[in-house]
């Protein structure tokens, strides 16, 4: 499967842009073994199972999906925190899928991560100053006597009081801790920042502060974000493009607004309809699709289209065709490939969705 979305053009950028990150056919399997001494390999958890994706400089790509769909694993493979089982990863045109040692460490300067849990991702026994200074000491990009100044500058940049340099993480609130995490990730002036659920542990009012901060920093440093979250409204708000994952595969990629307005994949449609809307009138008009059952096990994913056992569209088409209770044969037999269904809108489905899920708001 190979889908090129190179035609994509950002208004502010030159037409022939190289992607910052390009991945092709990336798989990550975690082996399951049995026995203590002679560990027999009895299967694999196919966390990521053949993903192609391109991320362009300066853009934000959102990655959404349910728990266990492989979105965090994919991000960690791109960061080379996990080695891919198969497939290739290019960063700025360079193949980084198997680099090691010194080379890999140098690469990490260009890609950083902000984690979900601001309580667990900061060492409680270190001061904030030394947490943010760690990247400088590891990579020796700044002279020793200048580190403190740099750190205080970073703290100011993310909206922390530089005088709190000597405080410990427990003295800060959740939102402030997340700011510390952001400051640390910015220390080496990376090109790519992977945000793995950066706001899901925060209260709504604080969440908005962090989202605005990330946006400001992106404009200031021309950062590229890979933004993982399960909250679709947050992802749509921050992302230029959104990729939807299901059971280790990307099922749809489109501009955030397009994806919301005209989802092509029945899974995306169901996912969007499940999001509670903070608007009672719109909520009443909304056609809600309740998906039956749970996500199947990634150890033995369903044949053909992985979504077919839960797909309401395939089921209703089969019922119309006289096979009530079944799904369309095509969906069980043949795996759909990602193909372009509208401009800059690709999805992997044999029977894509035609109608809208939610009526557009007349006021807007």
């Amino acid at each position: 499967m190979s889908v090129e979305v190179n035609e994509r053009q950002e208004p502010a950028a030159s037409p022939a842009r190289e992607p910052l990150v390009r991945i092709q056919g990336v798989k990550k399997y975690f082996p399951i073994t049995q026995g203590i001494l002679f560990q027999r390999h009895i299967g694999d958890v196919r966390a990521v199972d053949g993903v192609d994706l391109e991320v362009y400089p300066g853009e934000t790509v959102g990655l959404v999906g349910e728990t266990g769909c492989g979105k965090s694993t994919l991000a960690r493979v791109i960061m080379r925190l996990f080695n891919p089982t198969a497939g290739q990863i290019w960063f700025e045109g360079r193949d980084i899928s198997s680099i090691k040692g010194r080379e890999l460490r140098d690469l990490r300067r260009d890609m950083q991560m902000v984690f979900q849990d601001p309580y667990a991702s900061l060492n409680p026994r270190k001061t904030v100053g030394s947490i943010i200074a760690d990247p400088f000491e590891l990579h020796k990009t700044v002279a020793k006597d200048k580190i403190k100044g740099e750190v205080q500058q970073l703290m100011e940049l993310v909206g922390l009081n530089p005088e709190h340099y000597n405080r410990y993480p427990h003295e800060f609130s959740g939102g402030q801790r997340q700011r510390i995490g952001v400051a640390r990730s910015l220390a080496l002036r990376p090109k790519l920042i992977v945000c793995d659920e950066p706001v899901s542990a925060l209260d709504v009012s604080v969440q908005a502060q962090i989202l605005n901060l990330l946006e400001d920093l992106q404009n200031e440093f021309n950062l590229t974000y890979l933004f993982i979250a399960h909250d679709l409204s947050v992802v749509k708000h921050v992302s230029d493009r959104v990729a939807v994952m299901y059971l280790g595969k990307i099922v749809e990629i489109a501009d955030g607004a397009d994806l919301y307005r005209e989802p092509k994949h029945p899974y995306t449609e169901a996912l969007l309809s499940a999001v509670p809307v903070a608007d009672p009138n719109m909520a009443r008009r909304k056609k809600q699709i309740i998906l039956e059952g749970d996500v199947p096990s990634p150890i033995d994913p369903p044949s053909g289209c992985r979504f077919h056992p839960r797909c309401p569209k395939s089921k209703s088409l089969a019922t119309q065709g006289g096979d009530s209770g079944g799904v369309m044969p095509m969906c069980t037999e043949q795996e759909p490939e990602l193909r372009e269904m509208a401009a800059k809108h690709i999805a992997a489905c044999h029977y894509p969705v035609e109608a809208r899920t939610i009526e557009p708001d007349p006021q807007t």
């Binding site: 349910e66 939102g175 009012s205 708000h237 919301y260 509670p276 608007d279 009672p280 309740i290 807007t364």
Partner: protein, 336 residues
């Protein structure tokens, strides 16, 4: 107006700690009618969980100074002896907790845990109780309930555990169900299943439901009335439409403006500045005053009262009605 099912009057729950008195709930009054769904929204530390735990009798006088009244079906639950409270809790008022992983006992089969709850209140044999548990699992749409009842919680997925919790909570046909962040730990698709299930079962059992959440979308879709809490007090109370289309408290405005809406393109979010206050040192006057953009001298001096404007919708704010309407239309609704 019919007799309310539950009426909470001027409830105060203060925890003495080494650092000072934590005023988790500080003068909360509300009521709920049979069959109504009430949403309580607020950020962490706003007192939404503590107030419902107190209604359940799970915060005791040993732990905290509790004053006020909690009138449920005509009797004040705060005055009841522990044994009598035990006959009400679980049978007439039951609760679903946020984390289904930690609220089921890992050592016991799911069916046994549900039947134990039934046998606590009904004088029936183990076998009958187990059959009822299987029935309940079927009602919450767990497939193969007979086999599932014999399994342990770790064999259930997150959504199924939450269903099992709901089965347990509804097994004695309670009049009031309190759901404390029932779907926060779940995916949106599972969340939709669970909320849909609560709605349907509520109609079937004719129970009243209190949903406690920080998600403004969940309350918009499922509640009749909404109570917005801030720093241990109710900031605003009203019908769901009042809260979304005609809110009258700056905190509610701030909350609604700080979430991205799926349907509309928002260029930039408008967060509430600052942080929620410490419950030990609540600011004088209106507790929201340090974060409020419309603050004036009276806000720092007097605590605003929650007075209903039209007999129902009420906001605890000193701004005049004209000012509220003006700000609402010029600055709040215009931004949507």
């Amino acid at each position: 107006m019919p007799e309310p099912l539950l009426e909470v009057k001027d409830l105060r729950v203060h925890f003495p700690t080494d650092d000072g008195l934590v005023k988790a709930v500080d003068g909360v009054s509300f009521s709920i009618q049979p069959g109504e769904t009430l949403g309580i929204v607020g950020e962490s530390g706003s007192g939404k969980s503590v107030s419902s735990l107190t209604v359940m009798g799970l915060v005791t006088r040993k732990q905290a100074d509790i004053t006020g009244e909690v009138i449920f079906q005509g009797q004040d639950l705060l005055q009841l002896p522990v044994e009598e409270m035990r006959t009400i809790r679980g049978a007439k008022i039951s609760m679903i907790f946020q984390d289904p992983m930690t609220s089921l006992h890992p050592y016991y089969r799911v069916g046994d845990q549900i039947s134990e709850a039934i046998r606590e209140h009904r004088d029936i044999s183990k076998k009958e109780a187990f059959d009822q548990a299987v029935d309940m699992l079927d009602k919450v749409r767990i497939s193969q309930p007979k086999q599932r009842a014999r399994q342990y919680p770790h064999e259930f997925s997150g959504g199924m555990r939450q269903r099992a919790m709901i089965a347990m909570a509804l097994s004695l046909n309670p009049d009031l169900l309190i759901a404390d962040e029932p779907t926060t730990a779940l995916d949106v698709t599972v969340q939709a299943q669970i909320l849909d299930l609560i709605d349907k079962l509520k109609a079937e059992f004719n129970a009243a439901v209190i949903i406690i959440t920080h998600d403004l979308g969940v309350v918009a879709e499922h509640c009749d009335n909404i109570e917005v809490m801030y720093a241990g007090k109710i900031a605003e109370y009203g019908r769901t439409d009042d809260i979304y289309y005609g809110p009258h408290h700056p905190y509610t405005w701030g909350l609604l403006n700080s979430i991205p809406h799926l349907g509309t393109e928002t260029e930039r979010l408008n967060p509430i500045r600052g942080l929620p206050p410490s419950l030990i040192n609540v600011p004088p006057g209106c507790s929201f005053n340090p974060r409020c953009p419309y603050v004036f001298d009276r806000c720092v001096r007097d605590v605003p009262e929650l007075i209903p404007e039209d007999g129902h919708h009420a906001a605890a704010c000193h701004l005049s009605r004209e000012d509220k309407e003006r700000i609402l239309h010029e600055e709040v609704l215009a931004n949507r």
